[in-house]
Amino acid sequence: MLWIGLHLPLLPLESFLATLPAGPGGSEPAVALVEAHRIVHANAGAQALGVKPGLKRATALALAPQLLIGQADALRDRQALTSVAHAALAFTPAVSFALPQGVLLEVEASLRYFGGHDALLQRLRDALRPLGHALHCEHWEALQGMGLNTLGDLRSLPRAGLTRRFGEALLVELDSALGRRPDPRASIELPASFDSALELFARADTTEQVLHGAQVLLARLVAWLAAQHAFVRRFSLQMKHEPRWRRDAGTPLHTTLEIALAEPSRDPKHLMALLRERLSQLALPAPTLELALRASDIARQPPPNTELFPTPRSEREGLTRLLERLQARLGRERVQRLVPVQDHRPECAGRMEAAALDGSPPARTGPPLRRADVLARRAVARPVWLLPQALPLAQRQSRPLLDGAALQLLAGPERIEAGWWDGDAVERDYFIAQQPDGALVWIYRARMPLSAQSEGEGWFLQGRFG
C-alpha cells in the first residue's frame, strides 16, 4: 500500500478566491477569512501586512485597511474538497477524505500506469490547477526545530516523552500510519448526479463576471466526469438573482440556462465556449448572486483516440463542434440544409431545413429521389438563384424590361401547370431571357387571362442563372 496525502492548508482561502470577480492582472489581493469576528485564515499577501490568524477583525483592518475580508464557510470548503477528491478519483479508485483539509489516495496499483511517482504527482498538480488549488509542501516547524527531520527520527524517540510533549493524538496518528493500529478508511463514492454551487462574493452584473464564476464550476464538473470516464450530454447553469431588484416584483428569482451538446464532451474549453455563446445571447433580468451547475445526463463511452493525422472520424467531430458553435450563437434555424422537393412549381421545389447537429443528412420525408428523376430534370434548365417573390417587370410594347433595358427572349415557352390539387394553382409560361450584357434570367407570364386574374398580368422575374 502506497498512499499519497493531499494536504490543502489553503483550501478555505482558495475556495474563497474562486468567488471573487476577476481581478486586474494576476496579482492576488490580501485576503483573510473571519469566523466569529476573528481571523482564521490569511493568505501570503495578508500575512506580509502583519495579519495573522487569531487577530480580531478590527485589529486586522487597522493593520491593513485594504484587506479583503471574507466569511469562512465550511460548506463551501466541503464542496471544494469534494471536487479535489473527484479529481483524484481519476487516478485511483481508493480515495478517502482526511478531514478537514486533506484527501488520501492509495496509488500502489496506479503507479506503473501513470509512469511513476513523480509523473503521477505532476498529473495531480495539473488536475488540481483548474480547480484553483495548488499542492504545497508543509513542514512541521516545531519538529524541525527539535532536529527531527524524518519520521524515523520521530519513531526513535521514547513514546512517553512524545505523548507528554505533543499529546496523545500524534502517537495515534503515527501508529495508524504505520499500521500498528487499525485505520479503516472508507473510499468515497461518486454521487450519481453533479450539483455544485458557488456563492459569488460580489454580485455579477456582466456576462464576463458570471463566466468567471462558472469557470470553477465547470472545472469541478470536468473533474467529476473524469473520475467516472464519462462525458456530459446536457448540463444547466442556474443563476440566482438579487431579490427585489429595483422593487420589480416581476423579476424572476433565478434564470436557468440549459445547454445540450450534440456530441458528449468533457473538454473544459469547448464547454466554456458554448456557455459563453449562450450567455451572450441571454439578457439577464437582474444581477447574479449565486451560481449552480447541475448535470445528470452523461454518456459513458471510451475516450476519443487522439490521432496524428486527420481522419474522417476526427474531421466529423470537428465539424460537429463547429456547427454547435455556429448554432449556439446564431440560432439553430440559421444553419440550414437545402432539401429538394418533387414539385414543378419553382417556389415549392425546394425548402430550407435546420441542419442536424452532427452535420448528417436529415431523415428524408416524402418519396425518395431516384437518380432517374435527377437525370430527367437535367434536360430542363433551372436557375440557381430564385427570387423569394416573383418580381413584376415593366413592359415596353409588350416586351419585358429589367433595370430599364429590354430583355431578349431566347428559349421558351416552357409551360408549368401544377398545384391545382392544393389550391395554389399556377399556369405559367416560362422563358429564358437575356439581359443586354448576356446574363440569363428566367421570366414568366401567366398562361391565360383567367389565371392572370390571380397572378397578375404581364411579365415576372422568377430567377437568375448563376
Partner: protein, 268 residues
C-alpha cells in the same frame, strides 16, 4: 578582395531566386505554392492561375456587379470535386434562395451542402453602412468555419464596404482551411487593396459565357480578359439565336463582329 572576386566570378552558381522559397518568384513568372491547387474545371482559367487552379489555404476574391452572371457555374466543378472527396461545402449568406435542383444539375450534392444564414442581411445601419453588429456576426461565423479547418470549401457573400483589416483577419483564418475559400464582393472595391492573393472580376460575356479579368495573382499581370464558355443553360438553337442577336447588336452599333467559337478572346 578574393571573396568579392569569387562572388563576382561565379554568379551562375547562385541559386535562382525562384528556387529559394516558394513565396519568391520573378515578376514574369507564375508563382508556385506548396499546396496543390484545386483545378477549376476550366482549362483556359487553370492555365492562368498560379499552381493551375484555385488556391487552398487562401482567400480567392471574386468581384461581380450582381448575382446571376454564371458565378455558380464557374465554381461548381471545383465544389463538386470537394464534395466527391467527402468534404462539406458551406455557403454563407447567399443573396437569394438557392434551387436544389439547379445545384444537382451542376453535379453538386445538396446533402453535402450547408447554408449559414446569419440573418443580418436586412438590418439597416446608419448612413447606409451595414450594421456593425451584423457584420460582426457574419464575419465571425465565416472565420470560425475557416479556422476550424474541417470544412471542404467555403463560399461567402461578404457585406458591402468591408474594411481591409477585416478581410485580413479572414485571410489569416484561411491559413487553417485546407480548401478553396471564395469570397464574393461588389465590383466597387476593385480599386481598393485586398489581402487576398487572388482577385478576379467577373462579368457576363454573352449568353452562357463569362468574362474573367484577373486583377491580382501571384505572377505577372494579365492584360486581357478570359472568356470562359460555361456549361450551357440554353439549347443549341437558343444559343444560335443568342449569337445572332449579339451580332445584330454589334452591327447596329457599327462595330466589327466578334470572333466566334473561341475559348478565349484577347479583348485588350
Amino acid at each position: 578582395m578574393p571573396s568579392t572576386a569569387s562572388f563576382a566570378a561565379a554568379p551562375a552558381r547562385l541559386p535562382l531566386p525562384e528556387r529559394l522559397h516558394t513565396s519568391v518568384w520573378r515578376g514574369h513568372q507564375m508563382g508556385r505554392s506548396v499546396e496543390r491547387a484545386l483545378p477549376s474545371g476550366f482549362a483556359a482559367l487553370d492555365a492562368q492561375l498560379p499552381g493551375g487552379g484555385w488556391p487552398r489555404r487562401a482567400l480567392s476574391e471574386l468581384l461581380l456587379p450582381h448575382p446571376g452572371l454564371g458565378e455558380i457555374r464557374l465554381l461548381a466543378p471545383s465544389l463538386a470535386a470537394t464534395q466527391r472527396a467527402g468534404r462539406l461545402v458551406m455557403l454563407f449568406d447567399p443573396p437569394a434562395a438557392l434551387s436544389a435542383w439547379a445545384l444537382m444539375q451542376m453535379g453538386l450534392d445538396p446533402e453535402q451542402l450547408l447554408v449559414i444564414d446569419t440573418g443580418t442581411q436586412g438590418i439597416p445601419g446608419v448612413d447606409g453602412r451595414p450594421h456593425e453588429a451584423g457584420v460582426d456576426a457574419r464575419l465571425w461565423a465565416l472565420e470560425q468555419a475557416l479556422h476550424s479547418g474541417h470544412v471542404g470549401a467555403v463560399l461567402a457573400w461578404l457585406p458591402p464596404r468591408l474594411r481591409a483589416e477585416r478581410l485580413r483577419r479572414l485571410q489569416v483564418a484561411a491559413h487553417a482551411h485546407d480548401g478553396p475559400a471564395f469570397v464574393l464582393r461588389e465590383m466597387a472595391v476593385q480599386q481598393q487593396a485586398s489581402p487576398a492573393p487572388l482577385r478576379l472580376a467577373l462579368r457576363a460575356g454573352g449568353a452562357d459565357a463569362l468574362s474573367v479579368r484577373i486583377l491580382k495573382r501571384r505572377g505577372p499581370p494579365l492584360a486581357h480578359e478570359l472568356l470562359l464558355e460555361l456549361p450551357p443553360v440554353l439549347s443549341a438553337s437558343a444559343t444560335r439565336k443568342a449569337r445572332e442577336l449579339a451580332v445584330q447588336a454589334v452591327e447596329a452599333a457599327g462595330a466589327a463582329p466578334p470572333l466566334r467559337a473561341a475559348t478565349f478572346v484577347n479583348l485588350a
